[in-house]
Symmetry: none
């Protein structure tokens, strides 16, 4: 049986941005778009050009992607032509290959929210879609509130979809905007839409998680023929979120009946990056990854029950629905580091360190990691700190310099113009090649404003490291994330620093302490040491 192609449409950058507390910067949008493209989705909805400065800036410098970049907007307003609607024009001006327009399909919303006639709305849909197609773009129509609309007035809801389809929409996307529809109802209504004449190969599904069934509803639609699924990474989105692509993708690729029915564009190799990509998004958002997330959560393959853990050691399939390695995740079995050692060797290899199987350093390194993770450290993303830790245990990490002490102060008071101003000052004392060096810096930038204590410490630390100073030229802190974690019974502060050198190399380090300044300094020290360790290799590149 030949499988039909199922298209994945990601809306993390648009509907995902409606998550309470989420506000992407343009740079973050670019990073996420690149990760989505790596994963292998078919469409990336980048935002609504013209609706806000971030979205507009993103489209001006959108990354080159294999996935089809899509601009989102709404159908033209009544009383003007599609050509003369400046909101629609802004969407088209983004110059994307595909354009997705949301429009009403629930009669109540047409007359109440828009305050226009049902026929005017149909005409808005027709004219807008035809205009996009006329510009040589791929058109998509998001039928807002479709399932609620179908319940109240099935003929009109279908007519909206027909209008878009007949005007040339490549996809008509059935949206359960309010998220209250149940899977059996989705199945039934989708079958009615297909019976009305729009083939499943032209239908998409867009579900929300308000009853915890966005995944189930999406899959129900796929079972009856829909061939485009919309969702977001980690289920971000308005209210309770959108359908979670991080769950949908492996289910579609690994589980019956989907695996026998459809093919996504995601390769088995990329499926192995799923856990990493999911956690990267949380990293960008400075969220704690959900431990219980299906497939990718840290607990997804953790076997705590005693009966389960012992059976798992005999045969993992006894208590696992899929092999965790397939999605890039790992098994956690309390009291067993069997799996740990081979993972560790793999990760060391990635850092360019070969350690033979059975080396006595392996359990020692695992032990140190375990202890430090109990204190609040996290080495999932802080690969540079992980590498330094392992090298120290292996005796492969030279001590370039020693920090004897530091002091940092922040003072806030009125200046002579009676304005409140801050001044941060740091003193760092290091020993390099046997020489003691005292450096002091303040954190004032070229505009005369204070950049804070971490900046002052960073400047003082790098100010005079003797023969190493040159190798640190151009290095800068590009991101700084702070999180409160539980280390034993005490609240601990975890700082993750992303650094970059002049040639654009980036690396991440971690520090943990109840004191935010100590934690920052520790991460900063790791960043400097890692740079010095790799100075020669990098210079040669």
């Amino acid at each position: 049986m030949t499988k039909e192609r199922l298209y994945l449409y990601d809306t993390t950058l648009r509907d995902g941005q409606q998550t309470q507390g989420v506000q992407f910067s343009t740079a973050e949008k670019q990073q996420i778009a690149e990760a989505l493209d790596l994963l292998g989705v078919d469409y990336i909805e980048g935002g609504w050009p013209g609706a806000n400065p971030t979205d507009s800036a993103f489209f001006e410098a959108a990354p080159e992607t294999r996935a089809r970049m899509t601009a989102f907007g709404m159908t033209k307003r009544a009383g003007r032509s599609a050509e003369n609607d400046e909101v629609l024009a802004a969407v088209l001006n983004a110059g994307t290959g595909a354009v997705c327009l949301v429009g009403k399909s629930h009669d109540y919303h047409v007359t109440q929210a828009l305050g226009i006639t049902l026929e005017e709305n149909l005409e808005n849909i027709r004219a807008s879609i035809a205009h996009i197609v006329g510009q040589g773009r791929e058109a998509l129509f998001d039928a807002e509130h479709f399932f609620d609309g179908y319940a109240d007035n099935p003929d009109y809801a279908l007519a909206c979809c027909q209008a878009a389809y007949e005007a040339g929409a490549r996809w008509v996307v059935l949206c359960d905007t309010n998220g209250g529809c149940q899977p059996s109802r989705i199945r039934e209504v989708v079958q009615a839409v297909i019976a009305s004449g729009i083939p499943g190969g032209h239908l998409g599904i867009h579900c929300h998680n308000d009853t915890e069934q966005a995944v189930a509803c999406s899959l129900a639609a796929v079972e009856v023929g829909v061939r485009q699924v919309q969702g977001t990474l980690n289920g971000l989105g308005e209210r309770c979120g959108n359908a979670n692509l991080v769950t949908l993708i492996p289910t579609l690729m690994l589980k019956a009946p989907y695996v026998d029915l459809v093919d996504t564009g995601v390769s088995q190799d990329r499926l192995g990056d799923l856990t990493r990509i999911s956690r990267m998004l949380d990293e960008i958002l400075n969220r704690v990854p959900q431990k219980q997330a299906p497939y990718v959560g840290a607990s997804a393959f953790a076997h705590k029950a005693g009966l389960h853990a012992s059976a798992i050691l005999k045969d993992p399939s006894t208590y696992e629905h899929v092999d965790p390695a397939v999605v890039g995740n790992g098994r956690i079995i309390p009291m067993s580091n069997q799996a740990g050692q081979s993972n560790l060797r793999k990760r060391l290899m990635e850092a360019g360190i070969e350690v033979p199987k059975g080396d006595a350093a392996l359990p020692r390194i695992l032990e140190v990691i375990k202890e430090r993770e109990a204190q609040g450290y996290s080495y999932d993303t802080a690969q540079a700190s992980f590498e330094l830790l392992a090298r120290r245990e292996l005796g492969l990490c030279p001590e370039f310099f020693e920090v004897k002490r530091y002091r940092v102060s922040v003072e806030r008071r009125k200046n002579k113009y009676n304005q409140m101003v801050s001044l941060s000052e740091a003193v760092v004392v290091v020993v390099v090649d046997g020489d003691k060096r005292l450096s002091v810096s303040e954190s004032m930038d070229e505009t005369g404003s204070d950049r804070g204590p971490v900046n002052a410490l960073s400047k003082a630390l790098q100010k005079d490291l003797g023969r190493y100073s040159d190798q640190l030229a151009g290095m800068r802190l590009v991101d700084f994330k702070v999180r409160i974690t539980q280390g034993g019974t005490e609240a601990m502060t975890r700082v993750i620093i992303d650094s970059e050198d002049a040639s654009g190399h980036r690396w991440s380090t971690v520090g943990v302490s109840p004191n935010i300044i100590d934690a920052s300094f520790e991460a900063m020290l790791d960043a400097v040491n890692w740079r010095l360790l790799h100075a020669e290799t990098m210079a040669a590149e």
Copy 2:
């Protein structure tokens, strides 16, 4: 049409305890049992008596509940009688009205994990269930790995269920132990079980969330006739968790087809306690409640998209699948840069501030919010800072005290034992009622370790605020979140602080600055001012 009764079986205290990182104390188990009873579930599975000291202690002093208290255990082992199995005896000795025994129903597990014959396993099921019934207890049989077992050997899986049913089990519970089964498969297999002779009124369903479909799978089983649903509060449980009763209960009570099909024992009144009960569990576990949780999450009825927010004001049903009040939750319309004046008035009303339509302060407040959001502030969650900002614009915010200046220092050096130690010290100068007061604090805690500069500043600020000091007694910082945002061209630090007072009230404030200490201090000042502003109202509650 008369509805059939659907029984809710809660296993928070047993399977929920398998969550990684969760370890209930006996007292916590009692608290949770009382909350479950208040909610109105039919069965409370309290744990496995004899398996660990906490569970044993819980049953020794189990609270009196309307719900049927249930002890969990496993079928007797081969080679001894049910009467002589001391593991089973410990379970019966708990003296509960109902006993649930897990047993194998997958042939592979019988021969591989237990290492006994298929017939021996059937005999263990029969004898164990008969023994429980013989003691006058209600017997339940958890058919472990039932769906996987049915796939490999349907006759044997059914034979296990039949053995339990014929031996007198009130309920045969079909378990998708590994959580990989899809809803359409659940539906099909349950229909086969009913066709084999066990009525739906004697069947239960126990699902796990490994593909994010524990709720969907449970509901699929209910649709085809199963009349007991097992789950946990907030979806706690092994790996990705169990079916979430907090989602299932309102869906069963509010949504078609379930609402027309079955009746749970939960009253409409108790449904209104759902949000409170869900958050109480998180409180007991010291977890941050999931904002996006269906029905009960803080974001579940938050309308961020501009188009949605304005329609909601006309008619909430336009973007809400149920009325949030029905589940004890509330609507949130966050301030975002598109938010209009009517949103603003509504949000002010929630803070107890009435501003007439068309008041000139409204556009002024919106302008200030816009400017501050461009600098990096975020008022989505920091409701207390939003309120202070608005009150200041409206002239409704007294100045309790003035901060003249502060200074904080962190020093890290070796102590006399040659260990690196830190010391944070803060000086804050305030004017209260015309009096200048200088306070100095260090951040050492009772164990002698340093808690950092923010802690030192907080102590110094609250140390001497004259007549206001009493009103701040017991106030503490419960969460602290830091992010780097882009404010114009400069990297800015945004700090969000969650504070709590002695009576458990919580509020969030925000501060922004390139200097992390300044940003923290600003958020801290807002927290203190908000507390002082509400001191009288709160004391009166």
